[in-house]
Assembly symmetry: D2
Homo-oligomer: 501 residues x 4
C-alpha cells in the first residue's frame, strides 16, 4: 500500500502534502486501488485559504480582460491535453472514454464562457439620477470563494465554478471528490500553466473535515456545492449560519414524459443515453419514463428492450463499450439493492442487469441495464435517487396525471417531454415545477451561456450554477452615486491660472 | 385600554382579528398610547400564508403587463393619499412631515419601478444552441414570499419588497413593525383598491411569534428582512436552515470622509441632514465624520456647531421643526446612554442635546442634536449603531488612514467622501469595502432603478434589495431547451391532408 | 367652405395658423367634408423646428425620471379621454369605435413603455478597462427629431414615435396625415396638460412641402416614417442624403399559412379580423391565405364564406357594425379596381362586396368584404398592397411551396402560420424572410416592450420602430474613458492641509 | 514593373486575379514601388458577392458557438503570426513596428469580442404577453455584408467589421485600401486556416469601381465604411439610396483641453503620442491642444518642445525610431502644404519639421514633428483634418470658451480633457458634442467591448462601429409571437391513444 502513488494538494502554486489521513483511490473497472489520496486536515485547508487570501488583492486589481485571457489560454490547453485528462477521468470514475470526452467538452464551454468576463462584468450607468448627479453599479469580486464537487463529473463540475469565480476577480479553494480527485488537480495545474498566479486557485483533497473547515472559515465568502440533497442542505444551512452566500445543488429524480404523438424511435434512442449513459450516475439522468397511455408505454418498452439487448458493458477504456462500471463497490451494492427492492415492491423487472459479468474484469464494479415496468409513486425506486443504470416506466392516462406526479416529487432538477404538439410542450414547460425542461431533448442541461439550476429540493439558494447567474453569485454589487461641487477649476474660483498665486 | 382603536391584520382582502396578545402603539411626540396593535399568533400567520397560497395560481397566470398596471394605479393612489399616509406615519413614528413625505416619495419610486415588470421579466433566448435546437430562460415567480420590516421607514421599506415581489407574480405576507404599523396597512388597502386581488398581499402584525411562523412555514419560499444585524443573522440562518432563499439587511455605521479640498459649507449642510434627519434613525444616516487633517476637522466642527444652533426640535406635525422625537422611550434612554458613555470614554462632547425639552410636549421622546469631537475607534460610540441624533468626528491624517478605519469596521452599508478631486473619489470608491458609496452625496441611497445593499455584516444574502436584484430575488430561473422531431406535418408524413384518412 | 372648422398646428405650446393652403377633412361614413386642415408651408415647419430646437437644452437636462413621469401622467390622461379621442378618430378615419379603442390601447402601451425610460437609458459601465481606467457609455438624446405618420393609425403610430423620442430627451416635430389629423393633435394637447413644456412636442399639419422641409432642415437629426414603400424609399434616401438617421417603414403583403393540422375554426375566426378589420387598411392586415392542400383550402373558404355572411358593414359609430367605410372616395375606387382586375386575371371571386350599400349612408365610402380563391403569384392582387377588405386564397401543396412564395415577395412585414405542430412552426419561423411572425396569431404586432419592424422592402433602416430599438434610434452613444492623475489630494502632494500654505 | 509581385483578390477561398487595371504599392520608407495590386472591376466584385451569397445559407445555419470558435482560433493564429503581419503592415504603411503591434493588438481584441457571439446574440423572451401567448426576438443575420476600409489601420479597421459580421452569421466582402492591402489579405487567409468556410469572407482589392459595385448590388445588405467625411457622405447617401443599411465613419479634428490644474508632465507625454504617433495619420489623433490660460499654454508648449527634440524619425523597421514616414508622396506634400499655409495665416510655427531628412532614406516620405502656437479657429490648419505630424495650440481663457470651439467644429469624433477636477471632467463629458471622450486619456478609443463612434459629421448612421452596436448593425430583428390551439394531444381530443383509432 505504501507504494501507491499519493495524490497531494495544490496550494500556492505547489503540490504539497497536508493531513495525516489518506484513502485509496480505486479503478472501478478492475476493483484495484491504484493510488491513495491525502485527506486535508483543518490546518491544511487554512493554508489553502490563506494562500487564496494573499493572492486576492493583486488578482482583484488585474483588469478583467487579462483575467479573461487566462481562461482563453486554459481552453486551448484543455483541448491540447484532452486525451490525458480523459484517461485519468475514466481510470478513476469508470465512465467510457467518449463520455469523458463529452464531459470535458462541457467543462471547456464553461471556461469559454468565463473568458467573456469583460462583457459579463459590465455594470449599469445612469446619467442624471438627479440634476448633475450620476449613479452606477459595479460588480466587484467577493474575495476567497470555495467549491465542493461530486465524484460523478470530476472535471466538469469544478469547471462550472472556479473559472467564473476567478474571471470575476475572486480567488478559489476547490475540494473535489476524494474518489476521483486526479483530473481536477490536473486541470488546476494547466490553469497555472495558462498564467494563473499562484494562490488564485488552490485544490485541497479531503472529506468532511475539509468541508467543515471551508464552511466555517471567516475568510471564505461564498460556497458552491454540488452533491446529494442531505449534504446540500447541510452545506446551505451551515454556510449561511456562518454568514456566507451559498448555492447548494442536490439530488434529482428526472421524469421523461412520452406522449402518444411522440416519435417513439427518437424518444427511445434519447432515453437509452439519458438512462444508462455514465451508468445513470448523473443528476440530469432520466431514471423514470412517464408514458401517457398503455400503447405508448408498450411501444417505448419494446424499443428499450431491443436497444438494451445491443448494449455493451465493459471497461471504459475500450471504445466498443457503451457503459462502464459503477464508481465504487459500495455504490454497486446499493444500486443492486434498489433493484431488489423494486422487485419486492411489485414493479415488473423487464430487463435484469444485476448479474452481468465482464470477462477479464470480474472484480470490476459492473452491472447491466435494468428496466422496470409498472413503477408506482409509492415505491422506493420511484421516490429515491438511485444513481445507477435503472430505468422505470410509470404508466399514466393523461399528461396532466403525469405532471401531477412530477410536481409532487420532492426533486425538481430536470425533466423532458416527447411530443410533436406545440400546445402540449408549452403547457408542460409552463406548469411543471422543474428548473430545466427539455422538449424532445432528454438531458436539458443548459448550454454554458445559460445557467444550471433545479427547483424544489434540488437547489438551495437563489442563483443557479454557471452562466449569467454565476456572474452575479461570484460578485457583489457596489453602487456609486456621484455629484461634484461647483466653484472648482471650471469656474475659476480656486485653481485656475495658478501662476498668478 | 379597551377603548384604544385596535389595529388588525389584512388577510384575504379583509381586516381581521387574530391572536390574543396586543401591544400599545404610542405617539412619540406626546408619549401617549393612542392605539393598540394585535400580535398575530402562529395560526393567524398560517391563515395569511394560506390566503397567499390560494391566490398564487391565478396571480401567477396573470400577464405581467396586467400585474404591472396595478402598480401604476397604486402609484397614483399613493400620490392622491399622500397627506393621509404621512399623517399616520408621523403620528406613529415621530419624524417630521416633510421627512415622511420624502420617505413616501422614495417608496412610490419603488412602486414605479415594479410597474416596469414586462421589461424586467424578459428572459434570454438563444437560437440554435445546437442544430435546430433553441434554449431560453424564463423568470418565474416563487410562490408565497414574505417581508419583515423595521419601524424606521414604515412606508418605504415594505414598498422595497412587495410591489416587486407581486409584480413578478408572487403573493406576499408582510409583517411590518409593531411600533408603527398603520401606514403599511393603509398602503396595502390602497393596493387592493388599485386592483390587487384578495390574498395576493396580506399584512400580519406581530412580533417574534409571527416572524418564526414565517421563517419555518414550508409554503413560504423567500424572506426579505430589514432590521438590526443580530436579528438579520438570525433570520438568515433560520430561513436558510428551512431551505428558503433569504436576503437580510442589518445594521450600519456609515462614515463620511471630508477631504481638505472639499467644499466645506456644502459638506456641512449635507452632514446636518444625514446625521440628524429623522433623529439619525436611518440605516443610511451618517453618525461619523472622518476629517482628513485637523484644519478640516476644525472647519467642519465650526460649521456643524453653527448649524446645530439653528435647528428646531419639536413635534413632527409642526412644519417649522427640523427634528421630531425618537421612536420610543426605551430607545431615547438607550441613545442618551450612548452619549453618556462617549463622554466617559473620553470623546469631547461639543454639543450636548441630551436635556432638550419641548414645551408642551414634556412627555414626548425628544432629545437634541449631540456632536462629539475626538471620537476614537476603540470607543463604543464608534463601534455600535446608535440610531440617534449623535454625530462624532474622527480625526485622521490621510485618506488612507480614514479608509483603513472604514474597512476595519464590522458594517459596510454606506459611506461617502467630500472632495473635488477625481482621483481621490475614484480611489475611495474602488477600495472601500462598503456597498453604497457617495461622492459629495451624503446619503447614497441608490435610486429605485438601481439596488440597495451593504457589504460585510450589513447584508446577508447574495442579492440586494429592490431594483434589478429584487427581480432576480423574487423569481426562479427556468431554462427550456427545445427541438422538434422531423417527419411531422411539414414533411407530410403523418398528418397532412387529414380528410384523406 | 369658409364655415368649416379649421385645424391648425401646435407650435411652442400654442395652436397657431401657418401656411396658406388647406384641404378638406371628410367623414368617410357620410362622404361630407366636415373640417379643413391647414397645410404648413416651409416657413411654418421651420417655426416648429425652431421651437423644438429652443426647448431642447432644458429638456435634455431634465432627469430621465422626470421625463418618464410626464409619460405616466399622459397615460392616465389618455385613458380618461379615451371616448373623446376615439370619437374623433372614427369621425375622420371611419373605423368602428371598438377598433379605435383597440388602436388607442396599443398607443397607450407605447406611452407606458416610454415611462420606463430610467431603466431603458442605462449605459454600460466597465471598471478597469486598463489599470485604474474606467469606461462607460451614455445614451444621449439627438436633439430635434421628427415623425411623419400615415392615415390608418392616426393615434397609434404617432405614439410609436414621439413618447419614446421625448422620454429619451429629444424634442419632436410630428406631421400626421392630413386626412385625419385631429386625434394626433388632441393627444399632443393632452401631453402638454401632462406637463410637457412648450416646444418639446410640436405638430404641423401638411403635405409634401412640410415633409421636404423636415427632410432637409439641418436641425432635424432623425426621421421616423410609416407609410407606403415608394414614399418610405424617398424618405430614407432623401433624409440620409441630408446626413440624418432615418427609419422608414413601408408597405406589406402579409401571408397567413394554414396547415392541414390547424384548428380550422380558430384560424377562420382569426383571419376574419385580420383580413377585414379596419377594412384591411393596416400594414399588419392579412390579405392572403396560403392554404396547404386543397382540403385545407376548401375548409378555410367554407368557414370564411359563412362568417362573411354574418358581417355587418356600416358607420363606425354604430357599435353593431363590424366594418366601417374606407378612408376616402379615391381609395374606395382604387380598391374596387383591384377587385375588378383580380376577376379579369382569373382569380375566382367567391364573395363580392363591391356593391354593398349602407342604407342612410349612400355617400359613405363603404364596400363589403371580398374573397378570392385561386389567387396566383403572377396576379396584381397577389403582388400589390390593396389596403382594402379583400382576402385572397392561394393554394399550395406543401409548406415549403408556401414559404417559397412568401420569401420571393418584395415585402416582408408580417406573416403567420396556423398549425399544432411544433416542428412546422419552428421551421417556418426560422426560415421565413419576414420580420414579424405569428404562430396561431394572425396579426403578430409585437407588444410595446418588443419592437416593430419588417424585412425586405417593408423597412428601410437598421432599427425597428418602438420598443428597445426605438431607445437606440432616438439616442446617440457617448463613450467616456477616464483615469485620474496621481499626486493629487489623496497623496497630499498638492492640496492637503491647505492652511499650512 | 512587370516583375513586381502582384497582389490578388481572395474569392471563394482562393487567391484569384480579376480586373485589368493595377496600381503600385510603395514602401513609404524607401519611396520604392515594391508590389502592384490588381483593381477589381465590377465583374470581379460580383464574383465575390456571388461567393458570399452562396456561402450564406450554410453559414447562417451554423450554431453561433461554432462560428464563435472560429474567432477564438483566429485570435490564436493572429498572435502566432504577429511578427509576419506587422512586418507587412510596416512595409506598406510605414508606421513603426511597435505601433503596428499595437494596431494588431487592438484588432485582436475585436476578434476576441466577436468570439463572445453566443452571449451577444441572445434575444429577449417574454412569457405571457397575453394569456398563454409568448413573444421573443431573434437577431438573425442579414446575408451578404461589406466593408470598405482606409489605409491608416490596414489590419485593425477590417477587424472592426468582418469578425463580428461573420460571427453574427453573415458573409462578407472586404475592400481594403489599395495603398497597403497585403496585411488585411493575410488576416483573411488566416481566417480560412482557422476554419472559415470558403466564401464566408472574401477580399477584393480595388478603387471607386469596386466601391460602387458594392454600393449598388442588391445582394449586399449592409455597408460599413471608415474614411474621410466627403467619401463617408457619398457612401451613406448612395448605399441608403439603394436601400441598404450603412454606417459611414468620416473625418475628425480632435481637441485636447488642458486645464490649469492638470498634471502638465503627464499631459505632455500623452499629447506627444497622440499628436505624432503614426505621423498623426489616425482619426483619433490629437492635432489640437486647447490650453486654458496662457500659463497653461506656455507650460504645455515648453514641455512639447523639449520632448520633440528627443524624437527620432526614420524607417519603422528600426525599433529606435518614434515616427516613420507618411503613407505616400502626395500625402507628404499635402501635409507640408498645410504647414506652409499655417505660417501664412499667422500661426506661430514653434517647431518646424518640414525639412527633416533621414540619412540613407532620402526618397522616403519623411517629415518631422511640427508644432504651432496661436492657432485660431478661422485658420485652415484649425478647420481641416491634416492627418500629419502637426500639432497646434489654441489659447483660451476658460473651459467654456474651449468647449464652445469644440462644439462649433464640424467634426465630433474624439476629444479629451486633462484635469484633476471631478466637476470639470463631468461638465466637459456631459456637454461636449463629441462621441468619444477621454478624461486624462488622450486617445479615448473605446475598448473592444464598447463601441466606436463620433458625432456630427464624423459618423453617418445610427449605430457605432464594433462592440455591442456592431451586433445590432449586423443583425436584423425578428419577433415571433406564439400561442397554441387547445384540444390537441394534451386534452386528448385528436391524437391521443392513436392505437385506438
Amino acid at each position: 500500500m505504501n507504494e501507491l502513488p499519493l495524490i497531494q494538494h495544490l496550494i500556492d502554486g505547489q503540490l504539497v502534502a497536508g493531513g495525516t489521513r489518506s484513502v485509496d483511490v480505486f479503478n472501478p473497472a478492475t476493483g484495484q486501488a491504484e493510488k491513495r489520496v491525502l485527506l486535508a486536515d483543518k490546518h491544511t485547508v487554512e493554508q489553502a485559504i490563506a494562500s487564496a487570501h494573499a493572492a486576492y488583492p493583486a488578482w482583484r486589481a488585474t483588469p478583467p480582460l487579462k483575467r479573461a485571457r487566462v481562461m482563453s489560454k486554459l481552453k486551448t490547453l484543455l483541448e491540447d491535453n484532452a486525451e490525458r485528462l480523459c484517461a485519468l477521468l475514466t481510470a478513476e470514475h469508470g465512465k467510457v472514454l467518449s463520455d469523458s470526452m463529452g464531459e470535458l467538452q462541457r467543462g471547456i464551454e464553461n471556461v469559454e464562457y468565463a473568458s467573456y468576463a469583460p462583457e459579463l462584468l459590465k455594470g449599469e450607468h445612469s446619467k442624471n439620477v438627479g440634476p448633475s448627479m450620476d449613479s452606477w453599479s459595479e460588480f466587484q469580486p467577493l474575495g476567497v470563494t470555495a467549491g465542493i464537487t461530486p465524484f460523478n463529473f470530476p472535471v466538469m463540475v469544478p469547471l462550472w465554478m472556479w473559472p467564473m469565480a476567478i474571471a470575476c476577480g475572486n480567488t478559489f479553494v476547490l475540494k473535489p471528490s476524494e474518489r476521483d480527485p486526479s483530473s481536477a488537480l490536473l486541470v488546476a495545474e494547466l490553469a497555472l500553466q495558462a498564467g494563473l498566479p499562484p494562490g488564485v486557485l488552490n485544490v485541497v483533497n479531503g472529506d468532511k473535515e475539509a468541508v467543515d473547515a471551508l464552511l466555517t472559515d471567516k475568510r471564505v465568502q461564498a460556497i458552491s456545492f454540488v452533491g446529494s440533497t442531505p449534504i446540500a442542505e447541510y452545506i446551505y444551512a451551515t454556510g449561511c449560519a456562518h454568514g456566507k452566500r451559498v448555492q447548494a445543488l442536490g439530488g434529482a429524480k428526472n421524469h421523461a414524459v412520452v406522449m402518444p404523438d411522440a416519435d417513439i424511435a427518437n424518444a427511445v434512442n434519447a432515453l437509452m443515453g439519458a438512462a444508462y449513459g455514465s451508468c445513470g450516475e448523473r443528476c440530469m439522468a432520466i431514471p423514470l419514463v412517464v408514458a401517457v397511455g398503455d400503447a405508448t408505454a408498450d411501444a417505448v418498452l419494446a424499443g428499450l428492450k431491443a436497444e438494451i439487448a445491443k448494449m455493451k458493458v465493459g471497461p471504459g477504456t475500450d471504445s466498443a463499450n457503451d457503459m462502464g462500471p459503477l464508481v465504487t463497490k459500495a455504490h454497486l451494492d446499493k444500486v443492486k439493492g434498489f433493484v431488489d427492492q423494486g422487485v419486492q415492491e411489485g414493479a415488473t423487472l423487464v430487463v435484469d442487469g444485476r448479474n452481468v459479468q465482464v470477462a477479464g474484469h470480474e472484480s470490476g464494479y459492473f452491472m447491466g441495464a435494468c428496466l422496470f415496468d409498472h413503477v408506482k409513486p409509492g415505491m422506493k425506486i420511484y421516490q429515491e435517487e438511485i444513481f445507477g443504470p435503472v430505468l422505470g416506466v410509470v404508466r399514466v392516462k393523461t399528461l396532466q396525471e403525469g405532471m401531477d406526479l412530477i410536481n409532487a416529487h420532492e426533486y425538481g432538477n430536470g425533466t423532458c417531454i416527447f411530443t410533436r404538439d406545440g400546445e402540449a410542450a408549452r403547457y408542460f414547460s409552463d406548469h411543471i415545477l422543474v428548473g430545466m425542461v427539455g422538449v424532445n431533448v432528454p438531458l436539458p442541461v443548459p448550454v454554458a451561456y445559460h445557467s444550471f439550476g433545479g427547483w424544489k429540493r434540488s437547489l438551495f439558494g437563489d442563483l443557479s450554477a454557471y452562466g449569467p447567474d454565476a456572474v452575479r453569485f461570484y460578485t457583489k454589487r457596489k453602487t456609486i452615486t456621484q455629484r461634484w461641487p461647483s466653484a472648482g477649476v471650471r469656474e475659476g474660483a480656486v485653481f485656475s491660472f495658478p501662476t498668478n498665486r
